[in-house]
Symmetry: D3
Subunit: 106 residues, 6 copies
């Protein structure tokens, strides 16, 4: 699955016009999501936490969609990640991510 992962719209021109860069990114993605001990699913939850903590709407939304589609990650699991976001990063990134989650579930 990891190889086929959809990198998003911004990667389309990279693949087409900058194949050297594309290949390096695929290699990095492979190596980063090839945890020795922590499984891919948990790594995706960590990535979701980092994106939400950084208040990045676009990355947060993409991670949530991918989490729910590819891994059947539940709403409660995502909220458990966002609890950590609240503690480490404050209310604005937390409420922003909760709003994105709410809209995705509707």
């Amino acid at each position: 699955m990891k190889e086929e992962v959809f990198f998003g719209e911004g990667m389309v021109p990279v693949k087409k016009d900058y194949p050297d860069l594309y290949e390096a990114i695929v290699g990095l993605n492979e190596a980063c999501y090839a945890g020795k001990v922590i499984d891919y699913r948990t790594q995706k939850l960590i990535a979701l936490g980092i994106n939400a903590a950084a208040s990045d709407d676009r990355a947060t939304k993409k991670q949530m969609m991918s989490a729910m589609k590819e891994f059947n990650i539940s709403k409660d699991e995502i909220v458990d990640v966002l609890r950590v976001v609240l503690l480490t990063s404050g209310m604005p990134p937390f409420t922003k991510a909760m709003k994105i989650l709410k809209e995705l579930k509707e």
Copy 2:
């Protein structure tokens, strides 16, 4: 364990001089680490990822020490978290966290 968690040096004067604030923080900490589905140990890994991604040496070091002491989280597990940090947040926070980990293991 969660109640007894050591908040660090900065919390000592909060507990002593600002009990209302201290209580609210304890309540928040409790609620944030009381995941419904994701266990406390995994939530700590997520917190570590967020702190490292934010390039925060002090918080990263404290999370790593707490992870290793309280939860027997291994070096490989921490590196699996840092793989996600590398992908989402770039080389500087990754190498900074790897350096902290190296120093803690020595």
Copy 3:
């Protein structure tokens, strides 16, 4: 007023589905806005400065609306906050916040 404060859309599902978390947030909000020496109004101006400095459109807009509605905070006062944002955080967060302010006043 503080108890009734509108936390925004993201908090609706928190209140409904995660009452433990909701209560902890209300407790935190109370304790944080219960300054011993600095009044609530000034604390809101500080929150506005922090949100604008973090280049967070959504939080900045919400803080500005709340500032104008709940506290009759004037445009000039908000600009005085944004002056500090400019000095501490540079042009992009400053012009972004000025644009939000302009749109709210129109």
Copy 4:
């Protein structure tokens, strides 16, 4: 050209209502883009890199448009800047900026 640079919508009310602040900003802008050794064009590329690394859509888009219009900066040059963003700041700011670039070129 620097004097006539378009600061964006947020600067319109600054010029009109806060002339003291406007003048200080013009002075700062002049001094910052008056590199002794690095030319203005290269400084704009650096500004683009910083804005993209900060995941700031609005500032990134404005810098890209200004880069292409005022300086005939090519798509390949912008991608060379974004390569550095990827290495220093990770995938989310890189793909966000690549998407903005793609939309601007279409």
Copy 5:
């Protein structure tokens, strides 16, 4: 006082070797701290909040020292600023700033 404000060690070579830049910074500093409605003292509290929220030890420490020396800002006032930092930006920047404050008071 504003003109004589001590900008810190990093400004010494700017004043000496880059007078154009130095003058622009002085002009910016003047304009930013010349609030129309909010007084200089309150603007300094806002700057402290922004620096602490950004987890910047050095800037936070300098703002706290300047706040206490130049304006007789009390420990309780600084804690009231840090309450807002906790709510908007989470535990790590809050505990870091509380630790700096504790060390300054000792």
Copy 6:
């Protein structure tokens, strides 16, 4: 030169214990610094600007040392980068970087 580039202390255990990750990082580094149009030297200046804007002392210092040693980048060139940091990111990252530069030159 790029292949031999010194990644810093944090990379030592990566090379030794996580060769898959190390290789992916080398690949990424190669691809990112292989600009089509912008030369390696200018890309390093952009990286320096991004690190300084992120207020990352450790990365800023390493970039400055590498800039001066590997590329004979002068103090004036670095200051020209920091001018852009000041404009885009405010006084605290600028003065922090100027202080690092001053200490390196002494």
